[in-house]
Amino acid sequence: MSGIRVENLRKTFDNFTAVDDVSFGIEEGELAALLGPSGSGKSTILRIIAGLERPDHGRIYLTSREVTHHSVQERNIGFVFQHYALFKHMTVEKNIAFGLEVQKKSKKEIKAKVDELIDLVKLEGYNNQYPHQLSGGQRQRVALARALAPEPRVLLLDEPFGSLDAKVRKNLAQWIRDLHKRIHVTGVFVTHDQNEAMEISDKIILINRGRVEQIGTPREVYETPATKFVASFVGNVNVVESVISDGSIFINGVSPDITLQMRECDLAPGEVVLLVRPEEISLARAATENNLPGIIRAVHYRGSFYEVEIDVGNNLVKAVIDKEEYKAEEWRAKDPVFVLFGKYKVFDASEGYQQVHSMLKQYGYIE
């Protein structure tokens, strides 16, 4: 049985298409991430599912029932807002009880449910505090408890960790992951942070420019990205400009005597880019088959590992080297080095080039 299903959603604001023919399904009990850069339309999709925004086109199903024309109140969803939207004039207890009070539940029932939720979100002793007396993480948990109180069919979270600092964020993300396993509600959260999506979701739905780029498990989107956008947005990646000709890959700026063997043959000859994750690059002092000559530009200490920048022909690639290997080899700037690409993916250079290019530039992967 499906938890949430949306079909052909479309939403236009003035002249801007925020959501463009989006369809996906989320199984009951799954926790899915809507992942994408800011302005990609992911929050709008979430608000359409909630009924806070009306789609121009498309259908929405919650637990196999069509709710496209239902009001927010009728959909029985729990929504956690990015800035929590707690009721400032109400205590923690009153905030959590709100959804039950408007349903005119009995006092006894409300009390029992509120106590249960306060226990669940670990806010014992804060019952009579006001939101402004709480920390960011505590507010977030109140918002969560409030959303869960009316026992919603689905839980929707808009950038749930966006306004928390890194440490609280990590703890809370893990905690939500565990909580989700216990209460088994279908959940969707919006995020622009790929680490967050990787860490806590069962399924990632990648959104870019209002469209779905890929749907898959965190592992699938990381290891077998469907598009160049996915490869570059999820995790760090090197872009190596090359040309395919005669079944071989020529790296721009590297002597034509040295080529890579083609592994995927579905690309026509022409300009391509190789996308290689930093951890898929290994370095060696001596040439072997299929490795490329380069010069080390710089070596950076990154705490648990070293990052090595290497010029390979016209391309700057970054490799991640663990401490043991660094100790053994002692890489220095200006050292000649041979670079071996492990897993990599080849994409047509023209496909969505501008956007990926500017994104990589922003993250410092190309100059």
Partner: protein, 289 residues
């Protein structure tokens, strides 16, 4: 044992002392100026009223306040104020919600029209109503044919007071509603609350101190209103004479004890309102509890 202070340290300390002393002096000069200004404009006139009224003796004050005309004047002020507060609270909240939450053509124009009573002189406003509701005016002639008296009667005074105090409630809560934003109302909706429930349980509690502030300003303005009411009422004793009109009337007739005693009551009342305004203003600015 105490270490001997370094001569450089001593120099630094004396320089600092000098500067602190200079700053303190500057501070007291500024505060003194504010007090003088305040005394000149507010305290002296206020003291004057109390003294004049007091010179007549408490007995004279009470006896002039106890006359039927005087009681009627205060009653009229009370009634017009009550009507202005009720109407402008209800419509002020509705207007503010519409301006803060809805998008429509001509919104900017409508918003600036709400401020008109701020800009327009009360006398001019009163004159507008005389033209509109007078026997020659197009609405006035209709009312006259229905035998309903608007002008030089209580309904006209109420309309004038309501008009003068339109902006206060709406203007006070509009910025709060804008800042408060939509999210909390949306949160209420996702929790199953109807719009009506969301308004009473979420929106209204958030704006209540702004509303209280706006209402107090409306009360103060309604009680003190003179120009517009004078024009539309004709200031007929025991009929259409409010407290401010009575003060004016007594003063013009050289009945100083009467004028001062009525003025004293209004001054005391204003002071109470002033305290409440300060209280509501503080509450409005602080955390919305």
């Amino acid at each position: 044992m105490k270490p001997t202070p370094d001569p450089v340290d001593i120099e630094v300390i004396t320089l600092w002392d000098k500067r602190v002393r200079r700053e303190k002096l500057g501070k007291w000069i500024i505060i003194g100026l504010v007090f003088l200004w305040f005394a000149f404009l507010v305290l002296f006139p206020l003291y004057g009223i109390f003294r004049e009224a007091g010179e007549e003796g408490l007995k004279t004050i009470f006896s002039s306040l106890k006359t039927a005309d005087s009681i009627h004047a205060f009653y009229l002020t009370f009634i017009t104020t009550l009507v202005a507060v009720i109407l402008n609270t209800v419509f002020g909240v509705i207007m503010a919600i519409v301006f803060a939450r809805q998008k429509f053509k001509g919104k900017l124009l409508l918003e600036s029209i709400v401020d008109m009573p701020f800009a327009i002189s009360p006398i001019v406003a009163g004159f507008m109503f005389v033209v509109l509701f007078g026997p020659e005016g197009w609405i006035g002639s209709w009312f006259e044919s229905m035998n309903i008296k608007i002008l030089y009667a209580i309904p006209g005074m109420m309309i004038a007071t309501v008009f003068i105090t339109i902006p206060f409630v709406a203007r006070e809560i509009l910025p709060i509603l804008r800042e408060f934003g939509r999210e909390e109302e949306e949160a209420a909706a996702t929790l199953g609350a109807s719009r009506w429930q969301a308004f009473w349980r979420v929106t209204l509690p958030s704006i209540k101190w702004g509303l209280a502030y706006g209402v107090t300003l409306t009360i103060a303005r309604s009680i003190g209103e003179f120009g517009a009411v004078l024009v539309v009422s004709g200031s007929i004793i025991n009929m259409t004479q409010t407290a401010t009109l009575r003060i004016h009337d007594q003063f013009m007739n050289f009945n100083y004890p009467g004028a001062f005693s009525a003025a004293l009551v209004l001054a005391v009342f204003s002071f109470v309102i002033l305290l409440f305004i300060q209280y509501a203003y503080k509450k409005k600015g602080g955390p919305l509890l």
